[in-house]
């Protein structure tokens, strides 16, 4: 059991990294990875919302949609749950945790359309994970997101000052750097063999 959970965590964290191996959540990845501070803020917000969203949608799916035979409303329900959850968290933080809100506040609205959140809620259903396994999966995924986005923002801060030809400035060089980072992550693919 413990071994299994560790495996789920490692798979979500590194081997099937959500950004570089699954290509999910790329819009915020290229959007906010321009500086180290914003990368930290975004990562924290994603971790927080991803965990909450996974719990809520897991419970909604298993105790509401499944018993009532309404699985075909899954997509609509999940996205609405996430959207309202983000709204609610934003209001709650604004009222009770001023400092946290000033740190995370601007990233929260961006998260509704972050496909990483929705993808994780779908994947834990598709993989038939229990609530505990889903939690581990969500934490692993969010940390994997954080790891890559923080690493990458450091690279992009350097790129700002690098002599790059005009056509490659901005997005193109960011994509090519992402390609090299992804190449490094490709080396983890055989890792499963070790743990089994």
């Amino acid at each position: 059991m413990g071994n299994n959970l560790l495996l789920i965590f490692l798979a979500a964290f590194i081997v099937n990294n959500i950004l570089l191996m699954r290509y999910i959540g790329l819009c915020p990845f290229f959007g906010v990875s321009t500086s180290l501070t914003t990368a930290f803020g975004m990562s924290a917000a994603v971790l927080f919302v991803m965990l909450l969203a996974t719990w809520v949608t897991w419970i909604v799916y298993h105790y509401l949609l499944l018993p009532l035979g309404l699985v075909f409303l899954r997509t609509a329900t999940f996205i609405l749950v996430i959207a309202s959850l983000v709204q609610f968290v934003e209001m709650f933080l604004k009222k009770n945790f001023k400092t946290l809100y000033s740190a995370l506040g601007i990233y929260l609205p961006l998260i509704t359309t972050n496909c990483a959140i929705l993808a994780v809620t779908f994947l834990v259903i598709n993989y038939r994970y229990s609530l505990l396994q889903s939690t581990i999966f969500a934490i692993g995924t969010a940390l994997g997101f954080a790891l890559v986005i923080i690493l990458f923002s450091a690279i992009r801060e350097r790129l700002e000052f690098a002599p790059i030809s005009r056509a490659f400035k901005g997005y193109p060089i960011a994509f090519i750097s992402a390609s090299l980072v992804a190449l490094a992550f490709l080396g983890f693919v055989g890792l499963f063999k070790l743990t089994l």
């Binding site: 997509t75 598709n126 400035k169 090299l180 190449l183």
Partner: protein, 206 residues
Amino acid sequence: MNQKVNRLKYLTDGIIIENPILVIMIGLCPTLATSITAKDALGMGIATSFVLICSNIVISAIRKFVPDSIRIPIFIIIISTFVTIVDYVMQAYAPTLYRVLGVFVPLIVVNCIILGRAEAFAYHHNIFDSFLDGLGKSLGFILVIGLMGIIREYLSQGSVFGIAIGPKFLISQPILFMIFPPGGFLLIGLLKAFINKFIIKSETFE
């Protein structure tokens, strides 16, 4: 006359000048994830286009009845309805494609192109214009994702749409790198650089 030219512009803008992927830089996830072969890329392109065009039309049709303050939730419901329709129809009639695209089919709902066009265009324009806009953006999306699919499939398997063409060495010694995520990132980076160099001449592309 002037009006006609304007309308045509709704259609053509989306293809190159306002191409959703390479110029506006949204909708990257499906573009990279599902462009491993030309067929998958085209399937994803058509599925997304269906949702984009339908939701544009419906949102434009009901725009006068929708209270401003709750327009976003209503957009989301409409979009996710069409996404679910695509999801089930694909499962029933194209099961192989559905298994390849996997979680990216329901994820069409968070494709920023669709919500973006609903909010920025369909909510303020009439049905026909919204249809043209949706069609134009769809063509732009299909163009890029299809191109990526063709290039990646050709380099990694020596074939296009499953039909083997080109030099023999691509089949015996394919460039497998293009199948993997790094290949996708590299290709879209090069395409973007190409667009920057030849299509967008101004300094504003940063």
